[in-house]
Amino acid sequence: MINYLIRRLLYAIPILVGVNLLTFALFFVVNTPDNMARIHLGIKHVTPDAIAKWKHERGYDKPLMWNATAAGAQKAADTIFFEKSVRMFAFDFGRSDEGRNISYDIQTRMWPSLAIALPVFAIGLLVNITFAMLMAFFRATYIDFAGVVLCVAMMSISGLFYIIGGQYLISKLLHLTPISGFDGGLNAFKFVVLPVTIGVIGGIGAGSRWYRTIFLEEATRDYVRTARAKGLSELAVLFGHVLKNAMIPILTGAVVVIPLLFMGSLISESFFGIPGLGSYTIDAINAQDFAIVRAMVFLGSVLYIVGLILTDISYTLVDPRIRLE
């Protein structure tokens, strides 16, 4: 187990290097440091001196990948890429091009993101599994059929409509929750209700249908038939056998996304004015703040890899027969 984990973590390093290299290349193919400087300095009365100064202060006046003028190892080390990437591996994200401390921003913006993403995930999982179980329970009846049709219809609606419609109905017409915004502590509750409700409803269609297929697949297996033949009630079969055995596919899907919940949701955060990491990323892309973009991509890939490892571990917990070597 420990060996396995160590190997997986080591394996993560080349991936992270690759991610870094790719982000870096993508960003600098289209943006010269001059462009970045101009964006940050605004447009009125920008002089070439100011640009040079800006670049020098942030270390963007070095060569991108290869410093031909330096000596020895410095050829690779005294470059923008090296300077800006190596520290990331120690999770030192440095300061944004605007001059703000990125780690601090991430720490503060993580919570609003989680306040939305975590309930959406947990409640969504619960609701979806419940619906899927119901449909599996009533399989081959018109209830099941109606459920599937409803699911397909719901997943055919673009998420944007859920948000626009939900805000219009619940906040504007019914005056039940604030339209957008966020507040710390317990006050956050009234702001979180609407995005979470919409997030859960928006996910029901695809989610329930997916779990239903899993349950049905499981419900037609031999051991389930045996259990039923033994005279166990349908409910006992469903909860005792089907749900337990369907845990592996459910876990594969669910655990991978847990770490990524930190990253927040791009669309709903900007719509509901939630100061989370999702809107942070979008803002950074729009403002061409490379330091933030790079940090978020790095964080995203780290979390993705963590998710993969967690999935493996959760297998062993659910099914003791699986061993990690």
């Binding site: 447009i43 005056h175 900007s270």
Partner: protein, 716 residues
């Protein structure tokens, strides 16, 4: 059934009696308090007075910092009055030998102008840890070590604060900061042309900075600046090269507000910047408000400065102001509002809906970032609708001192150049663009078609028949009317493109528009402008690109037709006409003349007009310049957007002032009325929820039926 009904109705009744509306985005405790609510769309980048230049930043620091001068809140045309200064400074002109000259001397004789500024005594800074001293009079927080900072994350984490009286030296310090190597002051380049010694000062500081160890504090007080000196505790002098009457306008901007050296010393300590503790983030001012909460991800809160020196509401205004109720508070002490909460609101729909629900006091104050083209968000109707009237919402409009225009790149081989052919082509295109229609569609009628570079409310603008652009408009029946499309077609034919095709080759003429379009409104705009070009058989290819690329194109002169806008820095014609001044061209000279227009006659007149005082003589020159520009048509003059805003009934003392940025202190709010209206407008409607519960309950029935049936089958 009866019980069911009451189950549905009960919560509704309960909610009706409840105190705070459910959908209020603010804490219940704040209800009924004297707080102004508004929003910002993007986080301010800089709150340092030496650096901030965007309108969304100045909206904050304008309330916190006090430069020597300000604009009168009510008077029009815009008038400068003292703010921190005790009187309006007068320029003293010197010749090259330093001998005083009379005020009416010819501009070329004037080598220097000296402004002596007297400031008010007994003005104190807001409470701030940088001033905190211990019993022995030593600064408490000027020698912090890493362990001291371990528990500090916000400025409020410092337990002690202090204050001191504002001095003339603080103003001098701020002017020095414009040249600071670590700050990128946007006006440094410009000011170094005028303020004596500023350019050399920047070089000195850069050298000094290099000599310092990393993280070391660059003490500006050790380096004197030749052109700026503090004469005594309440007087300082600024020496400028040549004559520059516009300098007074700059003195009304936060760039020239006082900054105490203690603040720089305090924030300059190692470890502070890493914690976002900088002057760029936590201002230290003398104004009516201080920034008490700084969370740009969510909200910014301004609160009354307890040390504010006091100021009174103006006692006189324009004719009509008294009737409008703007002088009711005349002479009363400012500020009226205890606190101002700015919430982050990026999307239009939520903003508008919250305004209608009463959670924002005003709407439509679009915080267009300074640099991008001025955009008028399409909200509301030309009139206030019945529904809004019922709510007591009022509408106010003013023509802004800004221009939204399309420019031709004068370096372009097709549309550029001063040849008769190109001129006619440009004029034809200008006639094709029906700006009356544009304004009615995209700005809900809130704008006026531009007749030239100067917007109304700027000296030199001419109204009525004398002010129309004779190359695009005719004066018919007391109104400016765009020339007919046929005339444009004729011009086009004369330019060598009959029916939009090259007379020689027959090839259709393609024109290119460079633009950055990704807003929701932009698609409609592009469709519209293409339609306009088609009216005269021209095909317009839109080259949409991102902002960087667009900038790059403009800078290199690769654009053909482009969309641009300009917001005045100060109400002087020079600030608009310099956009067409040849030596100010974008290509090669990095100036603001994006069209790269260069007409020797225009340039000569500009140099004469630049430093003149307003008067008939200046008007004459401006008239000639405008005529030249209209004929050459380097821009499609576009329109001057009207700023419009909707106000709730409880929001008083509002008079849009496009130049002033410290308007918050004049605002008065009827918090009681607001709380009442909000409750009235936001009663929660619960019956749909009950209905939903009923529907879900009803759905259980078939489920139970099926379940029963199945059990019976299994049992059999």
């Amino acid at each position: 059934m009866k019980s069911l009904l009451s189950f549905v109705l009960l919560p509704l009744i309960l909610a009706g009696c409840g105190a705070s509306p459910w959908n209020s985005p603010y804490p219940a405790a704040d209800e009924g308090r004297n707080i102004a609510y508004s929003s910002f769309t993007e986080r301010p980048k800089h709150l340092d007075p030496a650096q901030s230049y965007s309108s969304n930043e100045i909206a904050f620091i304008g309330q916190i910092y006090e430069p020597p001068l300000q604009y009168h809140y009510l008077k029009r045309p815009y008038t400068l009055i003292p703010l921190a200064a005790s009187e309006l400074p007068k320029a003293l002109f010197l010749d090259a030998q330093g001998k005083p000259l009379s005020a009416d001397s010819a501009p070329e004789k004037i080598a220097y102008s000296v402004y002596e500024i007297h400031i008010k005594p007994h003005v104190r800074y807001q409470p701030h840890p940088a001033f905190a001293r211990d019993a022995g009079g030593n600064f408490l927080y000027h020698h912090l070590q890493a362990p001291d900072l371990a528990k500090i994350h916000k400025l409020a984490d410092f337990p002690q604060t202090g204050t001191r009286e504002m001095e003339a030296a603080d103003y001098v310090h701020e002017i020095k900061r414009l040249a600071h190597p670590k700050l990128n002051s946007p006006i440094f380049g410009m000011m170094s042309e005028y303020i004596v010694g500023l350019k050399e000062y920047a070089e000195t500081l850069a050298k000094a900075q290099q000599a310092l160890p990393p993280g070391g504090y660059l003490d500006l007080e050790r380096y004197p600046l030749a052109g700026v000196e503090a004469v005594d505790r309440y007087t300082y002098r600024v020496k400028l090269k040549g004559k520059y009457p516009q300098f007074l306008y700059w003195l009304a901007m936060p760039f020239f507000a006082p900054v105490p050296a203690e603040a720089d010393r305090f924030y300059g300590q190692p470890g502070m910047a890493e914690k976002n503790l900088t002057l760029d983030w936590y201002p230290v001012g003398t104004g009516p408000y201080l920034l008490s909460e700084n969370d740009p991800n969510r909200r910014m809160v301004l609160e009354k400065n307890p040390h504010f020196h006091g100021e009174n509401y103006p006692t006189e205004g324009e004719p009509g102001d008294a009737a409008a109720g703007l002088l009711k508070d005349a002479g009363k002490p400012l500020p009226f509002v205890d606190k101002a909460v700015f919430s982050l609101e990026k999307e239009n729909i939520p903003y508008w809906n919250k305004f209608l629900q009463g959670y924002y006091d005003a709407s439509g104050i679009s915080s267009d970032s300074f640099d991008q083209a001025v955009r008028v968000a399409a909200q509301g109707e030309t009139d206030v609708t019945e529904m809004m009237k019922a709510k007591g919402i009022r509408l106010q409009t003013t023509v802004t001192a800004s221009s939204d225009y399309y420019g031709f790149n004068m370096l372009d081989p097709v549309v550029g150049g001063l040849s008769e052919r190109a001129r006619k082509l440009r004029q034809a295109v200008a006639i094709a663009l029906d700006y009356d229609e544009f304004i009615s569609i995209f700005a809900n009628g809130r704008g006026i078609p531009a007749q030239g570079p100067l917007p109304p409310s700027i000296f030199g603008f001419r109204d009525g028949a004398a002010g129309i652009n004779p190359y695009v408009y005719d004066w018919i029946g007391g109104k400016a009317k765009q020339k007919p499309v046929e005339y444009a077609k004729k011009l086009l034919a004369e330019a060598g493109f009959p029916e939009g095709r090259d007379a020689q080759t027959g090839r259709p003429l393609l024109l290119y528009l460079d633009i950055t379009a990704n807003g929701p409104d932009d698609k409609a705009r592009l469709d519209w402008i293409r339609k306009q070009f088609q009216k005269i058989d021209l095909q317009l290819v839109v080259r949409n690109t991102d902002y960087n690329r667009f900038q790059d194109k403009i800078r290199r002169g690769n654009a053909q037709i482009f969309h641009w806008g300009w917001n005045a820095d100060y109400p002087d014609p020079e600030n608009f006409l310099f956009l067409l001044y040849g030596p100010n061209a974008r290509v090669g000279k990095e100036g603001e003349n994006s069209a790269n227009y260069e007409n020797p006659e225009f340039d000569r007149l500009f140099e004469r007009m630049k430093n003149m005082d307003n008067g008939p003589e200046r008007q004459l020159i401006i008239d000639r310049m405008v005529e030249i520009a209209r004929r050459d048509a380097p821009w499609i003059w576009g329109f001057h957007p009207k700023q419009y805003a909707l106000y709730h009934a409880w929001y008083r003392n509002i008079k849009p002032n496009l130049m002033a940025n410290n308007g918050l202190k004049y605002v008065r709010i009827d918090a009681e009325l607001r709380a009442r209206e909000r409750r009235e407008w936001n009663r929660p409607v619960l019956w749909p929820l009950g209905l939903l519960a009923l529907a879900l309950g009803a759905a259980i029935v078939p489920a139970v039926v099926v379940y029963r049936r199945r059990e019976r089958m299994a049992a059999r």
